[in-house]
Amino acid sequence: MVAKIIQIILSPILALIVGVFFLGLARKIMARIHWRYGPPLVQPVIDIIRLFYQKSVSHGRMFDLGIVLSLAGSIVVVLFLPFGRICPLSSSGGLLVILYIMLLAPLGMALSGGQGANPNISIGISRKLILSLGYEVPLLLVLLAVMTHYKTISIVEMINVQQSSNWSIISWPLFLSGLSYFLILPAILGIRPFDVSSAPQEISSGSMVEYGGKYLALATIEHAFALFISIALFVNLFLGGAANPVIFFVKMLVVFVLCLFIHAVFPRFRIEQAIKYLWRWPTLLAFLGLIIAAATRS
């Protein structure tokens, strides 16, 4: 019981540290690719602390509650996701529950932004929702392939099987699915070429435009969690999870840096182009992957 409570407290903190570290790392690596020196690694931490002390504007009750719901939703997802062997709540409902709780964060953000009453926000949210429909099609096919292959909806069991045999991505029934997942990972993370919903130059960061002060701080923390969640899910499902948090972190780091390289060199898609891409190759691969997984299911 005590061990469980410690895990419950520990896992969001670890996730936050990893997420914020990734934010800092992203700026550093991007700067280096651009031949700049870049801010120090702890810059996001400094920013978050500073933002908490700054003045901000509020557009109403839902504007406040939405951001709180969003961050709370992210924290809850972390509790359901195994981080190495740390998985405090993963026994309740498995992958299906994770999939659904992952909706709380964007929904909170959308509700909060919605009350911001700024057209940039509405455009950002509408793009975000369209994009999410775009990547959910292949993502759901991929997740179904995984669940069909392992005949369980429990993420912990999937990791156990992978630990005792191969990683999913190099076991042939799931190879195509894994590949498809990696192809849509930039869209899930919302980085280039899929940063249509934030797009600072076009729509002033979309749903973030009205945020300042503590709102922006909470939104940044939420962003850090979101980075952690998307990558951790990929690592858990396809790269075999990990026996301890350190190896897990290393795997996440590799995936994240790969995504950053894509981010650094690609220009932005328009939303139609993004959907066309997502519904073509990744969906085709994921579809084939699901057929294989269903056919080889004994």
Binding site: L133, T152, Y215, L290
Partner: protein
């Protein structure tokens, strides 16, 4: 005897309300509420009892029977519950309309006849109540006149086709088995040849699939639901459409039973897979179509079509989990869709009949209670954790995945993600964004309209956090139909051989996390409240009243999916209708009502006869 009392109160109350309305409108309103409340009380008291009475000894030599079991109690309580709430809601909603005696009478009459269909114990009374329900529904759909008349007409034509199919089946059953009592039929059907069973099942399915509005016979529903009066849209969408599900339960599981259903298969095509794929197509088609709609009630109507797909996916699968999921989804859908129609009705009522999502906005500040109701309802519709819709969808998904039908599960998931898009659009375009100048003075709805919204909101969340309470009833239905018992506990969630779902865990996690973040939020520097037009526009001038981006909210997606989403089926039906109409028109040239022509026809016919006789001498 109490079943007879139930029917007497239901029908008697309806007629009494009509006549009292001629004397005093106030008294009529009170009476309508009292009758509905009385029905709820009687039905609630009947929980767990299984009376069986013959209320009419010989109708054409067939005894008419009333009986109650867990299945019919489940449907009965949803009927009377939603009936009560919609009558309460109507009090203020229809206040300014005309012909209110007629309105309340039909409303109560529909409730009474729906109640009749679920508590009757033989097919002849089932058919009678069914027809009463169809016709009175037609009357109430067209109550508002105008476009509503066309919608009602569409409904009644499709409904009659279904009823005729059912009538053929009932007559066939009677001539073959000489009884129409459901329990007797259930035992007789076990020995019937398989092709006859299939014949009966298909005929009945036509009737129930039409009323359930599954693809490809969904076309009546969006029109009817959108054009009906909002309180009645709730009844239509929440309970009346689901009478089709009751019918399917009755014929698939009560009369035929699992043994026979399992025999009805040829290769991979079995009765279950046919229904499952119909369900899957319904889900995806409806979800994507709803995305394109801009009318608040039409969106909800399409979502009703789509959610029916989830029910049939669970129910047709015929496993313990699937059955529980499907049955529970019927209840959940009933709760949140009634709530959402009340919300849409409240908006319509307060803004002077506006249903166009593109012209609303910012109403959260004026109608907070309605907003909370709408938000919770949409969350339930999406199936977000901690709302009731989540639990039933979880059960259905799990059934599909564990049984190895990932493509069906994919259709179900895809439908959910479509739901998120149109659900958010519903919330955003009505309540969020900027409040237009013309709605500055909109007020929250009066208390009698708030009450149903508040009650249903509480139910959505209560059943989401403690799904064990309704699942006890759902489980009892499952076991009475011959399925295994589900391991449900009120406090510890739903256990099954592969993983449990513990909503209490999720609830406490969300609650604690939210409190923690809230404290963090309060600790930060204070924020200043600003007016709605005081927002960032990069220094540009911000035109008042045009500052709410709602029109064509998902425009890029529209352009991509619209060509694929023509409702070909609806166009096909209209084509048939126009064909029939032109045929009738050409017939009218012959029967033109002019006596001279008729005399000419007679003479021509006699000439023909004489000619034939003279030429061939056949007589």
């Amino acid at each position: 005897m109490s079943l007879v009392a139930l029917l007497i109160v239901a029908f008697g109350g309806a007629f009494l309300t009509y006549f009292v309305g001629k004397i005093s409108p106030k008294l009529r309103n009170c009476l309508a509420v009292v009758v509905s409340l009385l029905l709820v009380v009687i039905t609630a008291l009947l929980y767990g009892k299984s009376p069986n009475v013959t209320f009419y000894p010989g109708f054409l030599g067939i005894p008419l029977i009333l009986r109650l079991n867990m299945l019919s109690w489940f449907f009965a309580i949803t009927i009377v519950g939603i009936g009560l709430l919609s009558v309460i809601y109507s009090l203020q909603y229809v206040k300014k309309e005309e012909r209110l005696d007629y309105y309340y009478f039909t409303m109560l009459f529909i409730n009474a006849s729906m109640l009749g269909t679920v508590i009757c114990g033989d097919l002849i009374s089932f058919f009678i109540f069914w027809e009463m329900m169809s016709w009175s529904t037609y009357l109430l759909i067209s109550y508002k006149g105008g476009r509503a008349i066309a919608a009602g007409f569409k409904y009644i034509i499709m409904s009659i086709i279904g009823s005729l199919a059912m009538l053929v089946a009932i007559i066939s059953l009677y001539t073959r088995f000489d009884t129409l009592e459901i329990t007797a039929l259930a035992s007789q059907m076990q020995t019937a040849p398989i092709d006859y069973t299939l014949f009966i099942l298909i005929l009945f399915s036509i009737a129930f699939v039409i009323i359930n509005a599954f693809w490809p016979v969904h076309t009546w529903l969006p029109d009817a639901h959108a054009e009906a009066v909002s309180p009645f849209s709730s009844v239509l969408s929440a309970v009346l459409v689901r009478k089709g599900m009751y019918g399917l339960y009755l014929f698939m599981y009560v009369i035929l039973g699992l043994n026979i259903l399992n025999k009805l298969s040829a290769g991979i095509i079995s009765f279950n897979t046919v229904f499952c794929w119909i369900g899957a197509i319904t889900i995806v088609f409806a979800a994507l179509t709803a995305l394109l709609k801009n009318d608040s009630k039409r969106i909800l109507a399409w979502s009703t079509v789509g959610q029916g797909g989830y029910m049939i996916l669970g129910v047709a699968f015929a496993t313990t989990l699937g059955m529980a999921g499907g049955t529970f989804h019927i209840l959940n859908h009933c709760i949140y869709i009634a709530l959402l129609f009340f919300v849409a009705g409240a908006i319509e009522h307060q803004t002077g009949g506006i249903r166009d999502l593109n012209s609303l906005g910012g109403l959260i500040k004026r109608m907070p209670v309605t907003f909370v109701g709408g938000l919770v309802g949409i969350c339930g519709l999406i199936g977000l954790p901690l709302t009731n819709g989540f639990v039933s969808k979880w059960l259905i998904y799990k059934t599909l995945i564990l049984a190895g039908h990932p493509f069906l599960a994919f259709a179900a998931f895809l439908g959910t993600w479509g739901t998120i898009l149109y659900g958010y659009k519903f919330i955003h375009n009505i309540f969020l964004g900027q409040l237009p100048e013309k709605y500055k003075d909109v007020k929250e709805v009066p208390f009698t309209m708030q009450l149903p919204i508040i009650l249903l909101t509480i139910l959505v969340i209560l059943f989401g956090i403690l799904p064990g309470i309704p699942l006890k009833v759902v489980d009892a239905i499952g076991t009475s139909l011959g399925f295994e018992s589900l391991n449900v506990s009120i406090w510890w969630g739903i256990a099954s051989e592969s993983g449990t779902l513990n909503t209490i865990n999720i609830f406490s996690a969300v609650l604690i996390a939210a409190i923690f973040v809230w404290i963090l939020f309060r600790l930060g520097a204070k924020s200043v409240s600003v007016a709605q037009d005081d927002s960032y526009a990069a220094g540009a001038y911000t035109p008042v009243d045009k500052y709410h981006y709602t029109a064509e909210f998902y425009n890029p997606l529209y352009r991509m999916i619209k060509p694929f989403l023509r409702d070909v089926i609806d166009e096909f039906y209209y084509w048939i209708a126009s064909l029939v109409r032109s045929l009738a028109n050409s017939v009218r040239h012959i029967y033109n009502g002019d006596v001279g022509y008729y005399v000419m026809y007679i003479i021509l016919f006699l000439t023909l006869l004489i000619f034939v006789q003279v030429r061939w001498k056949i007589w």
